[in-house]
């Protein structure tokens, strides 16, 4: 990458940072400091605004760069990811969005704790939410470090370290000063930028092939060196049965994980009613679906125009396929068009990471302050404003994420995202569905459902080839690998559901009919909703 690319890309980065900091200042200008304002942005966003913000929260750099890179390298197997990421939204729309909006106030634990003995349930749900958020956060930070360093052509360890620290500092500023209102506007700006950039690239790729998708696929297959096999599943996840089960496990985690992601759940509280929550999910499904359809074109386009060798030569995981594609369709490495388009794509990718990171930080600071701090503080202790605690928590989480992001610098980003989805699906989804739909669910069932999914999911990863026992693992020197799959979902998601059922049938506690009635009536009608 030449100096021109970097200067222009750096200029656009700075523009985005300036605009987002401007939004944060503008929003915090008359700050009320109430919890409603900080966690839910005043609950008065329109469905369209929230739909864009949800799409902004969900379309991470892993999808923009990761999925199109996977398609460019492995053809059809990359496309399987985008299908899972999209279909997951049906679970959210049908079972979660409206009911959660009606029953809760700020976090997942609100929904569960309302029916149960509050303290243990809140601690359990808060712990799992923070775990999921931190995993997701670390994935984004690692991605930011390697991506920005790569795009700017500085691959030195120092540049990477400073990028991670810089991203962490910015996200703490956005969240602790701007709260949900600033975070939402940053998501909206980012979603518009990301979709705009993707549309331009898609149109340019299709123009190159005169609008003939069939021709595009044929060229991609020829250029890949795999021929027809490039357009069929099996290049990445074919092979032995371990690889195939691994993919099924990942597919399950993707489709069930979205509904348990704390930063997605907290978005439903920013609109006034359940109907608005439904309409924002409909908006976001349209935006996300359109986006993933375009990443398919970009992925195959990168394979056809740039070629898998060039992509792999730049980054082994394929993360730079889209920037390289932008350089080429803009007119080539030495043209103005190519330089500008490359810089725009790089800036959009950076904006994407910053926005996603801010959304997750906000959700996890809400879990810390609203669930963990509220349950664990000493009853006689000096009462502190919950929002002040949440602001402090955002700083703390920023520090933890920076630290872990630096430690995990060499971990695969896609793996961390897959793990976050698996933990969300194992620990958060069973307890959420049981408390919304099961009359006989008890406190012990709720606690067991959370820990019964959380602990196996984390343990299985520690015992997997990701951590030890193979040359690519985190600790290649030692071998305590007892679980063959990289993604624990296939085992840990059923365990979460079974543990919740087992805890309920073995507990002596009589389920509270009245509280179940209250949850059911509130969830379906919206009576008494915050």
């Amino acid at each position: 990458m030449t100096g021109d690319h970097q200067t222009l890309a750096l200029f656009l980065f700075s523009m985005f940072i300036a605009v987002t900091l401007g939004i944060t200042t503008w929003v915090s200008r008359h700050r009320h400091g109430s919890a409603e304002e900080f966690y839910a942005g005043g609950r008065l966003f329109s469905p369209m605004e929230n739909g864009f913000a949800i799409a902004g929260d969900y379309m991470s750099a892993a999808s923009f760069l990761g999925i199109s890179g996977l398609i460019a390298l492995y053809g059809y197997d990359g496309l399987l990811y985008s299908v899972g990421f999209l279909v997951a939204w049906l679970v959210v729309l049908f079972l979660v969005a409206e009911l959660v909006r009606n029953c809760g106030r700020f976090t997942l634990a609100d929904v569960v704790a309302a029916r149960m003995n509050e303290r243990p349930v809140r601690i359990a749900a808060g712990t799992s939410s923070v775990t999921v958020s931190v995993l997701y956060l670390v994935a984004q930070m690692v991605g930011a470090g390697s991506l920005v360093a790569l795009l700017l052509g500085r691959t030195s360890a120092a540049a990477q370290t400073w990028t991670v620290i810089g991203v962490g500092a910015l996200m703490v500023i956005y969240v602790s000063f701007g709260g949900m209102r600033a975070t939402t506007w940053i998501q909206i700006v980012k979603a518009v930028l990301l979709l705009g950039g993707t549309i331009v690239l898609t149109v340019l790729v299709l123009m190159r092939f005169h609008g003939d998708f069939d021709q595009l696929l044929r060229t991609a297959a020829e250029r890949s060196g795999h021929g027809e096999a490039f357009l069929a599943p099996g290049l990445k996840y074919g092979g032995d049965w371990t690889a195939r089960f691994d993919f099924i496990s990942l597919g399950l985690a993707l489709v069930l994980g979205t509904a348990g992601l704390p930063h997605i759940l907290s978005r439903f509280y920013t609109v006034p009613t359940a109907r608005a929550a439904r309409r924002s999910v409909v908006w976001s499904i349209g935006l996300i679906g359109g986006f993933y359809l375009m990443t398919i074109v970009l992925g195959f386009g990168a394979a056809a125009i740039v070629g898998p060798e060039a992509v792999r030569g730049s980054n082994a995981a394929g993360n730079t396929a889209v920037p390289l594609l932008a350089l080429d369709v803009g007119g080539g490495a030495d043209s103005t068009g190519g330089t500008v388009l490359f810089a725009i794509v790089a800036a959009v990718a950076f904006a994407t990471i910053l926005a996603v990171v801010a959304g997750i930080t906000l959700a996890s600071s809400a879990s810390v302050a609203h669930d963990l701090y509220a349950s664990l503080r000493r009853p006689r202790g000096r009462p502190r404003s919950e929002v002040a605690v949440a602001r402090t928590a955002a700083v703390g989480i920023g520090v933890v994420a920076i630290g872990l992001g630096l430690l995990a610098r060499d971990l695969n980003v896609a793996f961390l995202v897959g793990l976050a989805f698996a933990v969300a699906a194992s620990a958060n989804l069973p307890v959420l569905l049981y408390s919304l739909f099961w009359r006989g669910f008890t406190t012990r069932g709720a606690v067991w459902a959370v820990y019964g999914g959380l602990i196996p999911a984390v343990m299985l990863v520690l015992l997997s080839p990701v951590v030890s026992g193979s040359p690519e693992s985190l600790f290649p020197g030692v071998d305590f690998q007892y679980f063959p799959l990289q993604n624990p979902g296939l085992v840990s998601i059923p365990l979460g559901f079974v543990a919740g059922w087992l805890g309920t049938v073995t507990s002596a506690e009589q389920p509270d009919e009245a509280k179940h009635a209250e949850t059911e009536v509130r969830s379906l009608t919206g009576a008494g909703a915050a």
Binding site: S34, A114, A374, K515
Partner: protein, 151 residues
């Protein structure tokens, strides 16, 4: 903004108890004297609404749509993932030009997701929203201690 402090305390002690101790701050004062044990009354309101024909109809409509729809899309998605990983030969069969069964199935997943979304939004808007809103006002009237009209 309106619900700020009372609501936070309310949640800390659970919906059931709090409805009597905190919520009446924003309710009609006279309602308080009518109930000797307001917490119990609030709990009974929800039980009563839950048993009402109007609520059971809303719940039935929701479940009638959601249960089969979830079953269908989950089976269709899992079948797609399992077929893609276990039977790549079938998925590689050409359909038209470079487009094969796998591509049709993948784009079919996108299409069915959009169709399910549209169908759910339409169903909820036409069959559920109005009834749910009426129940919401009725329930809120009842919990405030004013005898409203839940049949």
């Amino acid at each position: 903004m309106r619900y700020d402090d009372p609501w936070y305390d309310a949640l800390a002690s659970g919906w059931g108890e709090s409805a009597g101790t905190d919520a009446p701050a924003s309710a009609v004062p006279s309602a308080r004297q009518e109930h000797a044990a307001p917490a119990l009354a609030a709990a009974e309101v929800y039980l009563e609404v839950q048993r009402s024909a109007a609520f059971q109809e809303v719940r039935r409509r929701y479940r009638r749509f959601v249960v089969p729809a979830v079953a269908v899309f989950l089976v269709w998605y899992l079948a797609y993932v399992v077929t893609a990983t276990t039977a790549p030969g079938l998925m590689a069969r050409p359909v038209a030009g470079a487009v094969n069964v796998a591509m049709v199935a993948g784009l079919g997943q996108f299409l069915t997701t959009f169709l399910f979304t549209w169908a759910y939004a339409r169903h909820a808007r036409l069959r559920r929203d109005r009834a749910a809103l009426e129940l919401r006002w009725d329930t809120q009237e009842l919990t405030r201690g004013i005898r409203g009209g839940v049949s």
